[in-house]
Symmetry: C2
Amino acid sequence: MPPADHPRGTAPEEPGPGLDVVHQLRAVTVELDLLAADFARRNGLHPTDLRALIQLLDAARSGTAVTPGRLGAALGLNSAGTTSLIDRLERLGHVRRLRDPHDGRRVLLEVDERATALGRSFFGPLIDHVVGEVETMPPAELAAVRRFLAHVRTGIEEHREQG
Amino acid sequence: MPPADHPRGTAPEEPGPGLDVVHQLRAVTVELDLLAADFARRNGLHPTDLRALIQLLDAARSGTAVTPGRLGAALGLNSAGTTSLIDRLERLGHVRRLRDPHDGRRVLLEVDERATALGRSFFGPLIDHVVGEVETMPPAELAAVRRFLAHVRTGIEEHREQG
DNA sequence: CGAATTTCTCTCGCTGAGCGAGATAGTATC
DNA sequence: GATACTATCTCGCTCAGCGAGAGAAATTCG
């Protein structure tokens, strides 16, 4: 989030622990974005492609079937953009298109090993880093972090709904 | 980060508190990105423009002068892309170009009120939400959250440096 | 059942963000 | 004052993503 210089309107804008945490959080997301963009470039992907892979891997992990429609919606793309996104991923061998046998209009997206490997090569070390940290934390502190992150997420969701 | 299905290679991949926190963190960043993209669209901006405004506002807040070069580097754009980014922001009245009096090659970017207002209108409620939460937290828990976020950042930075 | 409607994906043509290459103008070094 | 360097901008191009709409399969309804 951007700085909030003048105490005007909505929040107590004095530099304090709250704002500081907000800044840290924003920095984390900005840096993760940059990291993802770098990685995508190095692997001949676009940032959107990487986000798509994340969605696909998450879905595969939770056993959910993914169709172009769902994927496009999750990424905020329209159908034309979604088609060309999937074309790219298919061309690179990360994804295969299969007709849904139960609904002939649908296409099911199947993730290739190579996509999982790519995802792991990117996020693996980072995951290790964070998991390592988490494992040294006292349970009470860990619980606090989780509550905090959950709270942030609900805040974001409320914010999005109001549009 | 994407899921890590098989315990292979780098990390203890069993579903556990560590991975769970990683997933929460990833979800936060994904949702923040989507929120930012929505907001950008509604305000006739591109996601990059919003990221640029965040950088500019941060710099203004900390009293740092921003030039096209710095901004482009912070966003991972080349000079041509940076120029057209600033053209867009200038056209929308968020930014003005001023020649640096001390170094005639440089351009200094001055942020307009309208940009600050825009930033606040976007992030304000979210900041309030998080700050509100932070203020109810016992100091020990708050400290844990800050340490955690700091740790994540250093992890990301190390990760980026190795390229 | 067959027609109308809806749902899902893809095609076509276009806009514009961002890239590579290089021009230009100002600064530092000798 | 020539040379090297730095910061920004210009030009031409590629391609991600959009709007509009076509086509095919499913659903609803007379």
